[in-house]
Each structure stands twice: as structure tokens, then as C-alpha cells.
């Protein structure tokens, strides 16, 4: 007998019992829907995290002195010579300098703020920085150490509440007593995305030489932090290794910490993978429940169709063919449930992509679809085995007598 005949008979039998078939596969629909949606949402979250990270940090490598080596605070700073040595790599080197400053929030009350030294035209060098109002100070202004400043979004709100800061003079005080008056030329956009909040701080950006010459805690030719903005097409891992090699050759192992945004992304991605597995397992439980539902319905069906089974055997169906018939019915049932579940999940994902800003891209990979369908077919097979074996084992004489 052609196995396709058994498929046709399975469809006929399930179609003949539409309501019951639908109720039986509802459990599978929900289970497959949950598993598919969980896996795809995990992948979409992962993509969203990657994009958001790139929006705030770009594709960059960060270099800073390591403070965890049991040394005094007098660790080796980054020097001009180090910056020069990095020029051979496919990166733009953005040396940075941090120091603590204060501003007068009310007469007599001082609050601290970060004063950060950067090269000029930062948005041009590192596109993750965007100007909201005014402009960034130029490279010439930066080199000349002019008394100009750009404010972060929060610094603008703190220093000049309810006023446009561009063109104003910001007065800053070093804790040790020095005073600094900077003309504000621009304000940066607040950082965007999921991680925007993490990186929004009250910061005043000023030319590096100006800080060297005014802050007592900094020394000319020394930096706290390097951002290496990767050129297009440069391999982050490979360049990270080269940077590490350069610093180890100059200072020895472990003196500097070198991290790339990709390593952050990897960490975050591994967290989402764990979450995904966890949610997938919970969703898998509903598939198990659905499978038990299928087994239940198939057992009822075998009992109800005892006489049909007896007749088929009398007409020449072997036990094997009867088993095949009921197994195919179970598999067809769960497979149809799987298709409906995947379709529902796809619908939900489209809806989420359209409405939730964090999920920017719709992801439903062919692997996920195939996996979901394969799992639903396997569930039909697994939970159909016992009912089908019961049908196959029926004695035709008993079965034909069954009332």
C-alpha cells in the first residue's frame, strides 16, 4: 500500500472531525507559537542590543590604565608617544582626559561636574557624538587650547536651566581653587537607545591643552583614556590584539585594559542566549502539555473507531498499516498545529517590530521555522506511538464486536 494513501486518509479523518481536531491541535499551536516567538524575540533583542551599543559607542576599542594590579594611583598614564605608536593601525585615535570640576548651582552652593578634554571636531571623528545646538570646537581651537566648551545634554540643563547655553560663559572651579571661564559653543544630543541612560552624564568638553595648563592634576602629554574608532572594514578583534601587543611591548603585561565594543556585545549576547534558552524551555513545557493533549485525543479516537479498525483489519490491513495510519494522523495533527503556531508567531513579531521601537528588525529565521516544525512533527510521533500501538494491537474479532 502506498503510504500517501495513509496521509490522505489521515486528512480525511481529521477533516471529518473538524472541531475536535482543532481543539486537539490548539495546545500544539500555543506551544509552537510560544517557542517560536521566544526564540525570535531573543534574536531580535540581541540585534537591538547590538544596534543600540553601536549607536552609543560605535565600533571602537577603549584603552585605559589598569587600576586593579595592586599599584598606587600613580599608574603609568597614556603618553603622546603611545598615541603616535598607534597611528599605524586602521583606527582614528581620540585621546581623552578627565578631571573633576565644580560649578555654582546657586550662590554659595557648588556641585561637581566632569571636565573632559577631547580633540577638536569630535563628531567628525566619532559619529556617535552628535551636535544638537551650536557647533563643536574645531581642531585648531583645540590645539590652541582656547577657552571654549561644548556641554553634554545634562550639563546644559544643570549649568543653564531654562536658557540657551550657546554663547554663554560657563564658570568652573577646580576643587583645589583654580577658576576657569569657558565660552559655550555647542550642546550635544542626548545619547539614544536602550543604553542612552547609562552614558548620559553631566560633562563639559574642552580642549586638552587648556586642561593641561589649568588643572593641577594633569600633566602635559599624558592622557587618561583612548578611544580608537575603527576604520570601516577593520577587524575589531585583530586590531585589539595589535593594540595589546603595542602596549605590552612598551610597558609589559597587564598595565592597560583594552576592550572593544564587540567584546561588550559578546557579553550581552551571551546573556540574551541564556535568557532565550530559559524562556524557550518554559515555552517547551507548553509543547509537552500540547503533546499530552494530542495523545489523549488519539486514545479517544482509537477507542471510538474500534469497529473501523476491526473492519480495516478484516479487509486486509496489517497491524503495521493500522499503526502507520494512526501515527500519521497524530503527526499531521501536530504538524498543522506547528504551521499555525509559526504563522501566529510571525504575526506577533511583525506587530512587535512595528510598534516597539527597541525591536528594529523583524527576525524569523528559516532555521527557527524548520526547528519548530520538526519539533511539532516529533511530538506527534512521540505522543502518537502509544495510541497507534493500541490500535494496531486490537484483535479484529473483538474490535468488530465492540459496541
Amino acid at each position: 500500500m502506498n503510504p500517501l494513501e495513509n496521509f490522505r486518509m489521515a486528512f480525511e479523518s481529521l477533516w471529518g472531525n473538524k472541531l475536535r481536531s482543532f481543539l486537539a491541535l490548539l495546545g500544539i499551536v500555543i506551544g509552537v507559537f510560544a517557542v517560536t516567538a521566544m526564540i525570535s524575540l531573543g534574536q531580535m533583542a540581541s540585534a537591538g542590543i547590538t544596534q543600540d551599543l553601536e549607536a552609543i559607542a560605535g565600533r571602537s576599542i577603549f584603552v585605559q590604565p589598569n587600576f586593579n594590579e595592586g599599584q598606587t594611583s600613580d599608574t603609568a598614564p597614556i603618553r603622546d608617544e603611545d598615541v603616535a605608536a598607534l597611528q599605524v593601525l586602521p583606527v582614528k585615535v581620540l585621546p581623552q582626559l578627565f578631571t573633576n570640576a565644580q560649578y555654582e548651582s546657586k550662590p554659595g552652593e557648588r556641585r561637581s561636574i566632569t571636565l573632559q578634554g577631547t580633540p577638536g571636531d569630535l563628531p567628525g571623528l566619532d559619529p556617535t557624538n552628535k551636535i544638537a545646538r551650536g557647533r563643536y570646537f574645531t581642531q585648531a581651537e583645540a590645539r590652541g587650547g582656547l577657552a571654549v566648551a561644548v556641554l553634554s545634554d545634562r550639563a546644559a540643563k544643570d549649568l543653564f536651566p531654562n536658557r540657551d547655553p550657546v554663547g554663554q560663559v560657563a564658570r568652573l572651579y577646580y576643587p583645589s581653587g583654580g577658576r576657569l571661564e569657558l565660552t559655550v559653543v555647542g550642546v550635544l544630543e542626548p545619547p539614544s537607545g536602550l543604553f542612552g541612560g547609562l552614558s548620559s552624564s553631566a560633562t563639559v568638553y574642552a580642549p586638552i591643552p587648556l586642561i593641561w595648563s589649568t588643572s593641577p592634576f594633569t600633566r602635559k602629554g599624558q592622557y587618561d583614556f583612548l578611544v580608537l574608532s575603527l576604520d570601516k572594514g577593520a577587524d575589531a578583534q585583530q586590531v585589539s590584539k595589535q593594540v595589546r601587543r603595542i602596549f605590552e611591548a612598551r610597558y609589559g603585561k597587564g598595565k592597560f585594559s583594552i576592550q572593544s565594543t564587540e567584546s561588550f556585545q559578546d557579553t550581552l549576547r551571551s546573556i540574551t542566549v541564556i535568557l532565550q534558552a530559559l524562556l524557550g524551555a518554559i515555552a517547551g513545557l507548553s509543547l509537552l502539555v500540547g503533546g499530552i493533549g494530542i495523545m489523549n485525543i488519539m486514545l479517544v479516537s482509537v477507542t471510538e473507531r474500534t469497529r473501523e479498525i476491526g473492519l480495516r483489519k478484516a479487509l486486509g490491513a496489517t497491524a503495521g498499516l493500522v499503526r502507520q495510519q494512526f501515527l500519521i494522523e497524530a503527526v499531521v495533527l501536530t504538524l498543522v498545529g506547528g504551521v499555525l503556531g509559526v504563522a501566529l508567531a510571525a504575526g506577533l513579531l511583525v506587530l512587535i517590530t512595528a510598534t516597539v521601537p527597541f525591536f528594529k528588525v523583524f527576525i524569523l529565521s528559516p532555521t527557527t521555522i524548520l526547528l519548530s516544525l520538526a519539533v511539532s512533527a516529533l511530538i506527534g510521533l512521540f505522543f502518537g506511538v502509544w495510541p497507534a500501538a493500541r490500535a494496531a494491537a486490537l484483535d479484529p474479532i473483538e474490535a468488530l464486536r465492540y459496541e
Binding site: 480525511e12 483489519k313 478484516a314 479487509l315 486486509g316
Partner: protein, 231 residues
């Protein structure tokens, strides 16, 4: 005349109860039976006489505990379940008291069912099923569901289903038991006609006037043939 059914010393013993207190029931105690090609035989006997058991053994739905049985010249002892199913499909056409039509299939598809298990392609199956239905006078009921047919029509569909197999033997178990007298008469006339066409028929019945239609009556009593065992 070639023998379709040849039985010698057939016994059937059922064991029931726990292993400590097994009760043995001897349903058949040595049956010798020979049914020739083209014969019309009525198998009669009071309930408990073993006629149902004998019918099941003839139809290969049950296997004997002892003795030898040839169906259409082929010995059937020791055959596997799958081989027995295949022989049933090719040599035995069953007609049951309760018709046993599948309710969701049309008359045509019900009749074609045995050919599914023989691997006959769909178009050929339906062609033969149509011919079988026409031969029992139901050429105008091909697409009717069993629920749309009268009892007599249902039984004729069931007979067509047996005929489509072109079996060595038509095995009918109380085929008029569920029918009114007019339908019964129709069915019995159909069997008479099939007999005249040369079909071999074994009909199990407890009604004397039904049995009287047959060429030969085999009477069972207490698991043995009391009358009519040889042709």
C-alpha cells in the same frame, strides 16, 4: 470440483482465568469441513455451538489451536499476521450483520477500501468499485454516504465491497439479521444470483428459512459438525 475450504481436525481451545485456575473452553472439537468451488453453504447451529469461531477461522480472523486448514489450496498454518492479512484481502470477502461501512466515506469509496490495502492505483480502484456497485444495482448511489442509504442498500454496498476483492470465498455473517423482511428478501435474492454466477458463499445464520436458500446446510453442535460436513 476444487475445494475452497479444506479443514481436517480443526480444534479451538480458549484459556481464561488466572494461571493458577485456568479454565479451558473447547469451542471447536475436531471439525472436518470441505467446501467446493461454487458452493452455497449455510452454517447453522445454536448459539455456543462454535459457528462464530468456525467462521472466524474460515475467514482467517482467528487461527485454530489444532488441525489443518487450506484456503483455496493454500495451507495457512504458521503464517505471520501480515501474510494472513494479505490472504484475507485477496481470498475472503466479508459481509457483516451490521454492515460496517465507514460513515464518512461515500458508497464508492467504501467499496474501494479493500483495494487500498492491495495497492491498486486510485483511478483503477474507483473504476472497479463503480462496476461492483453497478452489479448490485446501486449504480445510482455511488456518491451517497451510508447515512443516506436504507438498510438493504447498505448491505448491498457491503456486498459490493466484498465482490470488488474478487475473493475465493464470500463469508456472510447473519447478513439479513438487521434487515426487514423485504430488504432481507432482496439481499437473499442477490446471494442467489451470485451463487448462480459461480461465487462460493458461506453464510452463517440461525434462521431456518434463510439457511434453506443454501445448497447445503452445515450444522454445528457442541463444537462438532453434526450434519453436512462433506460436500
Amino acid at each position: 470440483m476444487a475445494a475452497v475450504v479444506e479443514m481436517q481436525g480443526i480444534t479451538k481451545t480458549y484459556r481464561s482465568g488466572s494461571s493458577a485456575r485456568t479454565v479451558e473452553v473447547h469451542a471447536l472439537r475436531g471439525v472436518d469441513l470441505s467446501i467446493g468451488q461454487g458452493e452455497y453453504v449455510a452454517l447453522m447451529g445454536p448459539s455456543g455451538s462454535g459457528k462464530s469461531t468456525l467462521m472466524h477461522i474460515i475467514g482467517l480472523l482467528d487461527s485454530p489451536s489444532g488441525g489443518s486448514y487450506r484456503l483455496g489450496g493454500q495451507p495457512v498454518e504458521g503464517l505471520s499476521e501480515a501474510e494472513l492479512a494479505r490472504i484475507r484481502n485477496q481470498r475472503v470477502g466479508f459481509v457483516f450483520q451490521a454492515f460496517f461501512l465507514l460513515p464518512r466515506l461515500t458508497a464508492l469509496h467504501n467499496v474501494a477500501l479493500p483495494l487500498v490495502y492491495r495497492g491498486v492505483p486510485s483511478a483503477e480502484r474507483l473504476r472497479r468499485a463503480r462496476a461492483a456497485l453497478e452489479s448490485v444495482g446501486l449504480g445510482d448511489r455511488l456518491d451517497h454516504l451510508p447515512s443516506e442509504l436504507s438498510g438493504g442498500q447498505k448491505q448491498r454496498v457491503a456486498i459490493a465491497r466484498a465482490l470488488v476483492q474478487e475473493p475465493d470465498l464470500l463469508l456472510a455473517d447473519e447478513p439479513t439479521g438487521n434487515l426487514d423482511s423485504r430488504s432481507s428478501e432482496e439481499i437473499l435474492e442477490l446471494f442467489d444470483r451470485l451463487h448462480r454466477q459461480g461465487k462460493t458463499i458461506v453464510m452463517v445464520t440461525h434462521e431456518p428459512d434463510v439457511g434453506a436458500r443454501a445448497q447445503r446446510i452445515v450444522r454445528l453442535r457442541d463444537g462438532k459438525i453434526a450434519e453436512g460436513g462433506a460436500a
